[in-house]
Amino acid sequence: MSLLAVDSLTRRFAGLVAVKDVSFSVASGSITALIGPNGAGKTTCFNLIAGALAPSSGSIEFAGRSTVGLPPEQICARGVARTFQIVRPLAGLTVLENVMVAALVRERAVPAARVRAQAVLERLGLARKADAPAADLTLPERKLLEVAKALATRPRLLLLDEVMAGLRPTEAARITEVVRELRAEGLTVLLIEHVMRVVMAIADTVIVLHHGEKIAEAEPAAIAIDPRVVECYLGNLRKRRG
């Protein structure tokens, strides 16, 4: 059963088609990876699913209902949470307050939201920074804060946009571990990732975008040997990243 179904999704920017006729679905309780070279249209896909951008055409269904045309806050309320590739902490608030705002979507009372936010920070290893202004965090910490904010909204679908990039291996491992645990608890995850080791280790399905188009969808082992992917993407990547 799919939680998210995207059909013929297209998004044009002036003179450029960032996402072209993309269709895929994300099974409930799965971890799906969205990969592709820089500028492939991955983040744009997230923006469309999360409601930050409106599709030029195509449909998006979450839990059986269309989300096209809904503002981001309502999509969030329905159970979709996203992180930003370029982190966007609420700089003037403390770390705890950042996460509390997110928790307030579900917990209407401030004290309950505080308890929930503290639990999320605990889980991600950010608890000792709870009272620090978000502006004071290091980049890895900011990435963790992105995840914490998203998690605090108690999503059914979590969209992670390159959260491992720039993290130290121990931190990346921690997030990987948390994602696994969350999936075990029933959360569905769609993640954009360049770190192939991570993708191979945790994804059930991998979708490959190239120039806005979906060129492949398979399980990790199959993707790794798909000639088109190897040619247009992995090859490039191996060359570039060594």
């Binding site: 999360a50 930050a52 503002p71 981001p72 806050e73 969030c76 309320a77 949470a81 996203r82 930003f84 966007r88 902490p89 609420l90 700089a91 003037g92 608030l93 403390t94 307050e97 950042n98 509390m100 705002v101 997110a102 307030l104 979507v105 209407r108 009372a109 401030v110 939201a113 009272d131 904010k149 998203a150 605090a152 909204t153």
Partner: protein, 322 residues
């Protein structure tokens, strides 16, 4: 809790006793301080918390003032009722202004321009509207010997001192409750990054309209006090740009984004204004006051660009509770 309440009670008791030791002029100046602190708090809900700059708050001062005055003078409606009407009317007006701006995603400076436009538009309407006396103004009758201040809400300096102290206390309490509630968190999230806030479920449009509306409504009540204090209203004075600027100086000097900032700001700005006027009079140089006042404000802005409250809070190690 108990200690805080005791301290608050002690502080209020001190303020309640001030009239025994102060003369009418000092009480009037203190009353003005309370009034400007109150407006500063109201304006700051929108600017300092929800991050929406309004340069047209004169709109609510003016509409509130005319509402209370016209209801009292023409229809014999007690200001006790006039004030809530002013609140409702201004809240509705502010919601409308906000909704129009926010609906069309008018942000930042452009939103500020929109607020100026609404205020100026209203001023011009009032200047040509027979019902409110056009540019000729609107006046309250003199108080009779049988006036009961707490029923007419008009009286001597001591009355206004207490009345505005109560207004400030209530406005502060309401704002404190708001900003420590869910609403306050969501406002600050919008202020920091509206798109990021929406991504975590903050209903930005609704919250911004709410901020504008509460801010406008509270300011409308301040307008009512302007009418009751001065007894004469002119579109140019209560609805003009100068009023819009005058009411935001205190919160800017005190510091945005806190409830203490506007209060501290008013305690500095209003007396500074009086003091510089005294100096100008003492040296018998007309206009010297503007020079002194302007120079002092410039110094404050130079040395404390985020207002005076944050450095003071840091000094007292209150930085966690900006």
């Amino acid at each position: 809790m108990k200690r805080a309440h005791a301290a608050a009670a002690a502080f209020l008791a001190v303020l309640a006793l001030v009239p025994a030791a102060a003369d009418d002029f000092q009480l009037s100046v203190l009353a003005l301080i309370f009034l400007f602190a109150y407006i500063g708090i109201a304006w700051n809900l929108m600017m300092g918390y929800a991050g929406q700059l309004s340069l047209g708050h004169a709109l609510y001062i003016g509409v509130g003032a005319y509402t209370v005055a016209i209801l009292a003078e023409r229809y014999g409606v007690t200001p006790w009722l006039g004030m809530p009407v002013a609140f409702a009317l201004c809240a509705a007006l502010a919601a409308l202004t906000g909704a129009l701006g926010f609906r069309f995603a008018v942000r930042g400076v452009y939103f500020a321009l929109l607020t100026i436009a609404f205020a100026e538009f209203t001023r011009i309407v009032f200047e040509h509207w027979e019902f409110v006396g056009k540019t000729g103004g609107f006046f309250l009758r003199a108080l009779g010997p049988d006036n009961r201040p707490w029923s007419s809400l008009r009286g001597d300096a001591t009355f206004f001192y207490y009345a505005l102290l109560c207004t400030l206390a209530l406005g502060w309490a309401l704002s404190a409750a708001l900003v420590s509630s869910r609403i306050g968190y969501e406002w600050r999230a919008i202020r920091e990054d509206e798109d990021a806030a929406r991504a975590i479920g903050v209903r930005a449009f609704r919250m911004k309209v709410l901020a504008a509306s509460i801010s406008g409504g509270l300011t409308g009540i301040a307008g009512g006090w302007f009418a009751l204090l001065g007894g004469s209203l002119f579109p140019e004075t209560v609805l003009g740009m100068r009023m819009s600027i005058d009411v935001i100086i205190a919160p800017i000097v005190g510091g945005l984004g806190s409830l203490s900032g506007p209060i501290l700001g008013a305690f500095i700005v209003v007396p500074l204004n009086e003091l510089s006027r005294d100096l100008a009079q003492h040296f018998n140089i007309n206009g010297l006051n503007f020079l002194i006042y302007g120079a002092l404000l410039m110094m404050i802005v130079l040395f404390a660009p985020h207002g005076l409250w944050p450095p003071i809070a840091r000094l007292l190690r209150l930085h966690r509770w900006k």
